[in-house]
């Protein structure tokens, strides 16, 4: 574990310790399970965002891709309630891939800043979601139980159930870890973000690396759309994934990823996701007034990022 991950980990321990002292119920299996309920969605999307941020880019449209995929898959399930689950997940992945590839095409071929492109598609994809759904929510009646059960059942270890969704998310994290650390594609992602000029001199095609990361990021957000339907049992065209991009970027940043690219790790981002999930659960468990929860959440993110920045400046 490097210095970057260390800070996120330290924060996690500190926060759990403080919260645990005030409320011992925190360490009961139910609380841990509710923390773990938050993890899968944010982890899957954060892995895609990590790839994008490592190249020095950003994708703000992931929340809208999640929403579009959730509605799209919901409509497919409404028409074919007995579709095999692997097909359902693949459908989400494919929808996300298509939207991500659209982002990638505009960014790479149009040579436009990813920030601007994905602000545009953030709105455009959400708009498509409303058109596709005709404004109607996908209700629990349209989502088969075989899908929703994945969020709650899984492998139980010492009274704590690791849901199938969590296992899926961790598998994706593992694949991301292997890709980034051990494949030439992964290393090109780091190289591009570390110094784009040097990458060009070494013959690394920035266009194809960029295309791939936005397409993958979209695909993972699409997959998260299916996971959303599984976890919540409904998909609202307006709220599904809305402002989720901010949570995900915060998780990536808290995990010690350099926002200008070139440096970051899967382990760090996983800790960032865990930290944000914990905050969400602790805030309600500790009985913090609902009106103060959002502010507290924001402050914890700010403090974590400031600590990381201070540590980085100290190192330089």
């Amino acid at each position: 574990m490097g210095k970057r991950e260390g800070i996120a980990f330290g924060f996690l321990v500190l926060l759990s310790g403080v919260a645990g002292l005030k409320e011992p119920r925190l360490f009961q299996p139910q609380s841990i399970e509710s923390v773990l309920l938050w993890m899968p969605l944010i982890t899957v999307v954060a892995m895609g965002q990590l790839l994008v941020i490592l190249t020095g880019g950003i994708d703000l449209s992931i929340g809208s891709i999640l929403g579009f995929s959730g509605i799209g898959v919901g409509l497919v399930l409404k028409a074919n309630p007995h579709l095999p689950l692997p097909i359902v997940f693949l459908a989400g992945l494919a929808i996300g891939l298509a939207l991500g590839a659209f982002n990638a095409a505009v960014i790479v071929w149009g040579k436009i800043s990813p920030l601007i492109v994905t602000i545009g598609t953030l709105a455009a994809f959400r708009g498509l979601t409303f058109i596709l759904s005709k404004g109607d929510q996908i209700d629990s009646s349209m989502i088969p139980d075989s899908l929703t059960v994945l969020a709650h059942s899984g492998i139980t270890i010492a009274h704590v159930t690791l849901s199938w969704l969590l296992i899926l998310a961790l598998t994706i994290a593992l694949i991301t870890f292997a890709t980034l650390g051990f494949t030439t594609f992964g290393r090109n992602v780091f190289a591009l973000g570390s110094n784009a000029d040097a990458a060009r001199l070494r013959g690394i095609s920035s266009g194809s690396v960029q295309f791939a990361v936005y397409a993958i990021c979209g695909a993972l957000a699409g997959l998260a759309g299916v996971m959303y339907a599984s976890r919540f049992g409904f998909v609202n065209p307006g709220s599904a994934g809305s402002s989720f991009e901010l949570t995900v970027i915060a998780a990536v940043a808290i995990g010690g990823t350099k926002l200008t690219g070139g440096s970051g790790s899967v382990l760090g981002v996983l800790l960032g996701c865990l930290l944000l999930s914990c905050i969400n659960v602790f805030l309600s468990l500790l009985g913090i007034d609902a009106n103060y929860q959002m502010l507290t959440y924001g402050l914890v993110i700010l403090i974590a990022i400031l600590t990381d920045a201070a540590a980085r400046r100290g190192k330089a």
Partner: protein, 497 residues
């Protein structure tokens, strides 16, 4: 002889101007070839064209007797032609080993063979005689160490032709000696080396053959054995003094005096500029001239020494203070530091003077245009009108706009950094006329220029800088190009000044 690289009739143009014109050069394997010339003679451009960075407009390359064309540096590298940069281009976040192999990782299918990468990196670094840990990160390494990483990377491509573009400039003498050891080793292994430099001692210490460029043309090719430093300096400069010498002017009061001024990139500067006087600041690129100018204008802070303006000791804390004190700087890089390209001539030229053309905080378009028109007429600015975007103007006219901007602030001391770089001949003489007129009117002018005829033509006095110090102060009317070059390169002749 077919081993090595042969470039024939290389012509490189930027914006319609040939910076290198019809140059032939042959890099033989087992030989170190030095490419020398004054600043702007086209040495770096030629080197970069050979390495695939620039595409020559005319000419051909032959590698080991076979015609080649490089569309980018990677193609050159794959063919075995490596360019080593003065400021190494590396990936700061990645390890030494990965910097060596980025772009051509040792792989097995899609997977990187990390242990082989580390082992091979260690071998490459050892064969260069370099003590670097391949697993350590590149961020935080010295320039010399990062150059070594670039060398190892070139070695991993089995480079047979090595081009060193001013690589010794940022190195300490000890690091230079280490680099030379590596160069000799490469030569002895049968590589062809080209070193681009303006340090003649280095040329005579390491090279076997010398090609001299002047104004983009090859003027001589000599073996080191049959030449000497004096001859090379004369060949580098060697043009007829076609420009008439300037007419003497009455110098007035001392306006700027510095005593023992030290700062980032310069040391112990004792310099005086009088009213109505043009002082030329000559020296090689990297001698500390621009750094001195930036400190005088308050962009950086001097670390020691005194600066007096009209006899009063001053501290120039920021460019804002400098402007208030009557100091203006026309920067070297006008595109990045001098102009807002998409904006109009009027906007650009009144930028530094805007406060005084305003009416209670509101822009006063009539004043702005009147003031701009005054300078446009005086400078014979070639434009449709003052609302034309600066990006549409030629280099010379852009430079006039920058000049107008700073002159509107009515400075007492005008610092010019390479005022005619990239400007065509006609505009150049216009700019010279303006500078002379300003001095005539009593302005003190400090002019940095790498263009020796320009320095001799305009300056009343010439200060020559080398390695951050002023090494010679010459009388403008009597100095010669050779004297300046001797002082700037640290040759024996400097004593003459």
């Amino acid at each position: 002889m077919t081993k090595g690289l042969r470039a024939a009739g290389i012509t490189i143009s930027f914006g319609g101007i040939d910076v290198v014109a019809g140059v032939d050069i042959k890099l033989r394997s087992g030989e170190i070839h030095a490419l020398v010339g004054e600043n702007g003679a086209g040495k770096s451009s030629l080197a970069k064209a050979i390495a695939g960075v620039y595409r020559p407009r005319l000419g051909s390359l032959e590698l080991n007797g076979v015609g080649v064309k490089f569309r980018n540096p990677r193609e050159a590298l794959d063919a075995g032609v490596a360019l080593i940069h003065q400021e190494p281009i590396t990936f700061p976040d990645l390890s030494v080993a990965e910097n060596i192999f980025a772009g051509h990782h040792l792989r097995c299918g899609p997977f990187v063979r990390w242990s082989a990468t580390l082992a091979r990196s260690r071998e490459l670094l050892e064969s260069l005689g370099v003590a670097l840990d391949p697993a350590s990160p590149v961020a935080g390494l010295s320039v010399a160490a990062r150059q070594q990483v670039e060398l190892a990377s070139a070695l991993s491509h089995d480079a047979t032709v090595w081009i060193f573009d001013e690589t010794t400039a940022p190195l300490t003498p000890k690091e230079v000696a280490e680099l030379f050891t590596v160069m000799r080793r490469l030569r002895d292994q049968g590589c062809a080396l080209l070193i681009v430099t303006h340090h003649l001692q280095e040329v005579f210490a390491i090279a076997d053959r010398i090609t001299v460029l002047r104004d983009g043309k090859k003027v001589a090719e000599k073996t080191v054995a049959e030449s000497n430093e004096d001859e090379i300096v004369r060949l580098m400069v060697g043009r007829e003094l076609s420009l008439e010498r300037h007419e003497a002017r009455e110098a007035g009061e001392e306006l700027l005096v510095t005593r023992g001024l030290c700062g980032p990139g310069f040391r112990d500067i004792d310099l005086t500029v009088r009213c109505g006087e043009i002082v030329g600041l000559a020296g090689l690129v990297g001698a500390g001239r621009t750094e001195l100018a930036r400190a005088l204008f308050g962009i950086t802070r001097p670390t020691a020494g005194r600066m007096l303006l009209e006899g009063q000791e001053v501290q120039v804390a920021s460019p804002r203070t400098a402007l208030r004190l009557g100091i203006s700087l026309v920067p070297e890089d006008r595109l990045h530091e001098g102009l807002l390209l998409p904006q109009s001539i009027a906007v650009n030229s009144t930028l530094a003077y805007l406060a005084r053309l305003c009416n209670g905080g509101w822009l006063h378009q009539k004043n702005i245009h009147a003031e701009t028109n005054k300078y446009a007429a005086r400078f014979r600015l070639a434009c449709r009108n003052t609302d034309q975007a600066v990006s549409e103007l030629s280099g010379g006219n852009q430079q006039k706009v920058v000049l107008a901007k700073w002159l509107m602030t009515q400075p007492k001391l005008l610092i010019l950094d390479e005022p005619t770089r990239g400007v065509d001949v006609g505009a150049k003489s216009e700019v010279h006329r303006i500078i002379r007129e300003l001095a005539q009117e009593g302005m003190a002018v400090l002019m940095i220029s790498s263009d020796l005829p320009e320095v001799l033509h305009l300056s009343d006095r010439i200060a020559v800088m080398r390695e951050g110090r002023i090494v010679a102060q010459l009388n403008g009317a009597e100095a010669t190009e050779e004297q300046i070059m001797f002082a700037a390169t640290g040759q024996q002749g400097a004593a003459l000044g």
